[in-house]
């Protein structure tokens, strides 16, 4: 801040000038006022030149602003008046200077706010904040350390200045091991150390730093890190005003860092979801391929099959295979659970079915049960298996699945546990004859469990009539009604008798 000059004090712009001008006209003859260099500002110039007159100094602090030349009593009074005006002017300038400094801080804070707003990267936020902090608070060194989680250690997100302290050692007070920073974290309040030599929290290696200031970065209830500044200038010291300013910077920085953490979490979650969706899509493709190859042409029989999964991958399965004697073996089932886990179990079951040597439905179900028990799989699988000879005679075994329908009539099957629930199970065979005009339909519970928008279940009452229709229409009926689960339909007709 510039010191007042006598010329400025006496100028029309100065507030004190009006006071002086009021008495100016009453100055005694021979009085003149000169500045420190001897230039005449007011009064008789000849008095200044003669050098014979008394000179009364006009002082301010330790400086001499000028002189009142003249020997009358007025000279002393005028010098005193001008000194008073100078002192007042100086106070006003100091206040104005303080206000201007605050204006600068306001703008730098606004600038910081605008810079931080679009940043979603912790390091970028920290660098920007530290850079701005150095513009407002004197510092040779600085760092921002963050806590990704409450239980994680501090890590440096940004540092400025020469991070190597005097003698080449790292500045411990700015790093994750800083005792000072940890104490700030624990207390949750900023602090100043202006005597680093005698403070035990500053290690001996950092004694080149004269003053340290540190504030916590608090975002709501959570502390996300600390900001530390250090000054190694001789006579460096931080004030309460500096700490207040640092706390303001810390508040904005903490919010921006918290946003960055949240953004990173969201990006990671989105990536995981995208990866899972891709996996589901891949699994769906594999499952479609698997199921497409489960129906082998069997001369003498007509097989209609439909599979409508409720989501990308489903838990229903079916398999149709000719036996050496020309008979047809078919199985249709439903794995409990959803998603990739259910789809994997379907793939495993189909693999076991393909490897099965027996064509007897009861033996097939027993084998599958043993496989599932051995796998220790959680959940259960229902299945219905049938073998139909070319003359129409059939044997059927059921493991907890919906009974099949023959020409619209439910074929009662004895109760039994689903597969994978208990070991060493046996499945009672049901025998019958399928005439050429009849059709047997195996289906999954996705059909009777279809639910309309108003909550009505399709149910079993309508199922008999529905099963008289083609497989595609049965499945479509369930879908249109309100599909909630996978829908599978397998309809088998004998096309000729041997």
């Amino acid at each position: 801040m510039t010191a007042p000059t006598l010329k400025a004090l006496l100028s029309s712009r100065s507030g004190g000038a009006s006071v002086f001008n009021a008495i100016r006209q009453h100055l005694a003859p021979g009085i003149c006022i000169v500045d420190a260099s001897g230039r005449v500002l007011v009064g008789d110039a000849s008095a200044a030149v003669s050098g014979e007159q008394e000179r009364t100094a006009i002082t301010h602090d330790t400086s001499t602003l000028g002189y009142v030349i003249g020997s009358s009593n007025q000279a002393s009074a005028i010098a005193l008046l001008l000194k008073h005006l100078a002192d007042r002017d100086s106070e006003n300038r100091a206040l104005a200077s303080e206000v201007l400094h605050l204006y600068r801080e306001i703008h730098l804070i606004e600038e910081l706010s605008e810079q931080l707003a679009p940043l979603l990267n912790v390091e970028a936020v920290a660098h920007s904040a530290l850079e701005q902090a150095q513009k407002m608070i004197s510092a040779t060194y600085g760092s921002i350390m963050v806590l990704e989680r409450a239980d994680s250690p501090l890590s440096i997100a940004a540092s400025v200045g020469n991070h190597s302290g005097p003698g080449g050692a790292e500045i411990a007070s700015l790093g994750p091991g800083s005792v000072f920073a940890k104490s700030i974290l624990e207390r949750g309040i900023g602090e100043i150390i202006n005597d680093c030599v005698s403070d035990s929290r500053v290690p001996f290696s950092d004694r080149g730093i004269k003053a340290l200031i540190c504030a916590p970065l608090r975002a709501g209830q959570r502390t996300v890190g600390v900001i530390t500044l250090g000054d190694s200038a001789e006579n460096a010291s931080y004030s309460a005003a500096d700490l207040k300013l640092l706390n303001t910077i810390a508040l904005q920085t903490a919010a921006a860092i918290e946003n960055s953490f949240l953004c990173a979490e969201m990006v990671e979650t989105a990536r995981e979801r995208a990866a899972y969706a891709a996996e589901l899509q891949a699994a769906s493709s594999v499952q479609q391929l698997l199921l497409a190859s489960t129906s082998r042409p069997t001369p003498g029989f007509r097989v209609d099959s439909v599979y409508l999964p409720a989501s990308e991958v489903g838990g229903d399965f079916f398999f149709v295979s000719p036996a050496p004697d020309g008979s047809l073996t078919a199985i249709l089932g439903d794995v409990s659970g959803k998603g990739l886990t259910a789809a994997m179990r379907v793939a495993m079951i189909l693999g076991a079915v393909r490897r099965e040597n027996s064509y007897d439905p009861g033996e097939i179900l027993c084998s599958l049960n043993d496989v599932l028990i051995a796998q220790g799989q959680l959940g259960f699988t229902t299945a219905c298996c049938i073998r139909i000879a070319l003359d129409g005679q059939f044997t059927l075994a059921n493991a907890g699945h919906i009974s099949p329908y023959i020409s619209g009539q439910e074929l009662a099957t004895p109760p039994s546990l689903p597969l994978g629930v208990a070991a060493n199970q046996s499945y009672e065979l049901v025998r019958g004859t399928l005439s050429p005009s009849e059709r047997i339909v195996l289906l999954s519970d996705g059909v009777p469990e279809a639910r309309s928008e108003n909550g009505e279940l399709y149910g079993f009452d309508r199922l008999g009539d529905l099963t008289k229709r083609p497989a595609s229409e049965i499945a479509e009926e369930a879908r249109m009604f309100g599909q909630e689960d996978d829908v599978s339909v397998l309809a088998i007709t004998i096309s000729e008798l041997s």
Binding site: T2, R13, N92, R93, A96, S97, V99, L100, L102, Y103, R104, I106, H107
Partner: protein, 125 residues
Amino acid sequence: MKILIVDDEPHLRTLIQQTLEELEDEGVDLITATNGEEALESIQQEQPNLVFLDVMMPKKNGFDVCNAVKNELGLKNVHIVLLTAKGQEFDRHRGHEVGADMYMTKPFDPDALVAKARSVLGLPA
């Protein structure tokens, strides 16, 4: 070279004067006015190069003064910077309509004020 400072609040005039004081050593005269009418008189008499003009003032507000200077008196060479409260979008638009060259929000950035003065007056930064 002359800069006219117009604000009805004396402490703000003082602040702006103190901010621009360094330019006096480079041959710039700082003159002040306390209201819109005084500002118009001063502009016509002193023909300043640059005017820092508060918007909210008695006896003619800053917009009216700017309009008079730029459009009625045709003094296009007088560079006018409006000083307006922060965030008043309406003021910015209106300032543009009356021909203001720039606006600054209060509290002003002292460094930006000096930089603007140096730029308009062709003084080294």
